[in-house]
């Protein structure tokens, strides 16, 4: 099999039984295997935090899909991470409705407080900062999503507290 040569990796990943069971249940709902690929990538990410080259290869072998096809999908979508991320991924909105209400200032404060730029992870692996386009809560701007929670009407001075609580939530 030439699959492994497409993306050279020394990492050997075995999908867990839980991952396999979840992927199998996807396959029941789609007439063609490729229809499960996006959801399968999300399953991998849920269990491992991100999609590494090794886990991409393991998934390609398990689904019997070309690795390049799977990687072309994995790299297309905003919410599939092909790089490691921190414990908490912060998604401040950078849509225009938030920016009209001071969204840019919120993002700059996050940059300063965390000492990272957009797309980076803090040295202690606690936070990754990935702004997302319009989060669909424009009447409550500026907003941010983190830990599957939507934070509305954010004020810069509340950011330290919000960040603290997010980390606490993940640690418990």
């Amino acid at each position: 099999m030439t699959l492994a040569n497409e993306i050279p990796t020394n990492e050997t990943v075995e999908l867990s039984d839980v991952e396999k069971a979840q992927i199998d249940s996807l396959l029941l709902k789609t007439p063609y295997t490729s229809g499960a690929s996006i959801d399968a990538l999300k399953i991998i990410q849920n269990h491992r935090g991100w999609v590494s080259d090794g886990s991409l290869l393991a998934l390609a072998l398990y689904l019997n899909l070309p690795l390049a096809d799977l990687d072309s999908v994995a790299t297309f979508y905003n919410l599939i991470f092909r790089q490691p991320v921190g414990k908490v991924v912060l998604h401040p909105c950078d849509g225009i409705s938030c920016d009209l209400m001071g969204g840019q200032k919120i993002r700059q404060c996050l940059n300063k407080q965390l000492k990272i730029t957009n797309g980076q992870t803090t040295d202690d692996n606690q936070f990754t900062l990935i702004p997302l386009p319009c989060l669909g809560a424009c009447d409550k701007a500026p907003v941010m999503i983190a830990n599957e929670t939507l934070f509305e009407l954010i004020q810069a001075e509340n950011l330290p507290l919000i960040l603290n609580n997010l980390i606490k939530e993940k640690s418990t």
Binding site: K29, T30, P31, Y32, S34, G35, A36, S37, I38, D39, L41, K42, D69, S72, V73, F76, Y77, N78, L79, I80, H91, D94, G95, I96, S97, D99, L100, M101, Q104, Q108, N111, T117, N118, L132, P133, C134, L135, G136, A137, C138, D139, K140, A141, I145, E148, T149, L150
Partner: protein, 450 residues
């Protein structure tokens, strides 16, 4: 949110889409929905022939609420019918709301999942379809949770699966949570995403109605479009047409965001004048701010001004003012926010979300973003304005695979028209007149990002 409680069929609602939204936190659940007359539209549809239901939808003049305003009945009439028609046929709810400034579908998804499912079931019955998908934005966590529970409630109560309500009609619904890209809202790109591919628009023809998901007949409609169907079946096409204040039929969820006193969403008749929505419902501008302009229907529509306040929110009327109804969610630009910065934000968004398939979009939009950034930083030249105008022309409808790039340049081309002085002032005074210091500061930091 304005809501109307009416549980009796005899009282014809004036705000059908939100009539199920009450103060009750559980109003999204099956019991509460049925108590207020939910699924009556489906029950009525199941007593009629498929052709009769389609005729009723056509007669209602319902137009697609996703932005294009294409007549729903007409779109559906292209789906092959009869014994020879290919199966399975698919029906898809486009709930991938990601248009800048649009937040109307979130309300319907979170508060009325059963209204969407009922609309999908009526559509499924009408088109003799087999499988429905709800394609929802991955970031809408509570909406996803509500829809998953609502679907299970339906399976448990014979509203989904085999022999629905004893009618012999079979229908399955799956939920697909998107992995996030604006282009997934384009119907053929959405179909590619459902097939597990990169969400790149397909060439048409063949149209999805004939060959869509997995090559089978497929209809894709917006959340709000489906939400109208139960009421059209319940109260009739004539009632639906009577709701509009101008030419278009029915009601719509309108919204306003930006520096207004009372940003939010309201269900109002089609044809409600723009000025009434901004001044009355959104309460006018916040203290200390003046209105400079607004995008009437989300981030991919042309700017309009206060002088257009009398224009009814009707597809064709907004079109006559050279803008679009779009999603009906108005973004207000105030006098203290730089119009160049606003357009730059939007163009950057569209450049980032371009799928990269065709050149005017993949190369044209980032080029426009570079020029706008240059102008905003006070480093622009007058020739850049001409270049921006050319880029708008390159991205015009007909030059691109889908509507992303033509929509992307709508705020830009109208800003160049209405706010040209602002662009020129940036260039002649070599800085942003709106925020000389703060802008330079923020640009330095943004540059550092890259």
């Amino acid at each position: 949110m304005n809501t109307e409680k009416s549980s009796e069929k005899s009282t014809y609602p004036t705000k059908p889409l939100t009539r199920f939204i009450t103060d009750d936190d559980n109003c999204w659940q099956l019991q509460e929905y049925q108590d207020l007359g939910g699924y009556d539209g489906l029950k009525h549809a199941l007593t009629l022939s498929r052709a009769a239901v389609l005729d009723e939808i056509k007669a209602s003049n319902l137009r697609g609420r996703g932005g294009a305003g294409f007549p729903t009945g007409l779109k559906w009439s292209f789906v092959p019918q009869g014994d020879d028609a290919p199966h399975p046929k698919y029906l898809i709810v486009n709930a991938d709301e990601m248009e800048p400034g649009a937040f109307k579908d979130r309300l319907l998804l979170e508060k009325t999942p059963h209204q969407i499912i009922e609309g999908l079931l009526i559509g499924g019955y009408t088109l003799d379809a087999d499988i429905g998908y709800i394609f929802i934005r991955g970031d809408y966590y509570s909406a996803i949770q509500h829809i998953e529970i609502a679907l299970q409630e339906c399976y448990d109560n014979k509203l989904l699966g085999k022999d629905i309500l004893g009618s012999g009609f079979n229908f399955e619904i799956h939920i697909h949570t998107s992995a996030g890209r604006y282009i997934c809202g384009e119907e053929t790109a959405l179909i590619n995403a459902l097939e597990g591919k990169r969400a790149i628009p397909r060439a048409k023809p063949p149209f999805p109605q004939v060959a869509g998901l997995w090559g089978k007949p497929t209809i894709v409609n917006n959340v709000e479009t489906f939400c109208n169907l139960p009421h059209i079946l319940n109260f009739g096409a004539d009632w639906f047409k009577s709701l509009g204040r101008f030419k278009d039929a029915g009601t719509k969820i309108f919204g306003v965001s930006g520096r207004v006193k009372n940003p939010g969403l309201w269900e109002l008749p089609m044809g409600t004048p723009i000025g009434e929505i901004i001044e009355h419902y959104a309460g006018g501008m916040s203290d200390g701010y003046k209105l400079k302009g607004y995008l009437p229907g989300g981030g991919s529509t042309d700017f309009l001004l206060a002088k257009h306040f009398d224009t009814p929110m009707d597809y064709d009327e907004i079109g006559k003012q050279r803008s679009r109804m779009g999603t009906g969610t108005i973004i207000v630009l105030d006098d203290k926010y730089c119009p160049v910065a606003m357009v730059l934000n939007l163009v950057k968004f569209f450049a980032q979300e371009s799928c990269g398939w065709c050149t005017p979009c993949r190369d044209g939009l980032p080029w426009a973003a570079v020029l706008l950034e240059k102008i905003e930083q006070g480093k622009g030249e007058l020739a850049d304005i001409k270049q921006l105008e050319d880029l708008c022309k390159f991205a015009a409808p007909g030059n691109t695979f889908c509507a992303l790039a033509p929509g992307a340049v709508e705020p830009l081309q109208s800003a160049l028209n209405y706010f040209r002085d602002d662009f020129e002032q940036h260039i002649t005074q070599k800085s942003c007149p709106y925020c000389v210091q703060s802008c330079e500061q923020s640009h330095l930091e943004e540059d550092h990002d890259k």
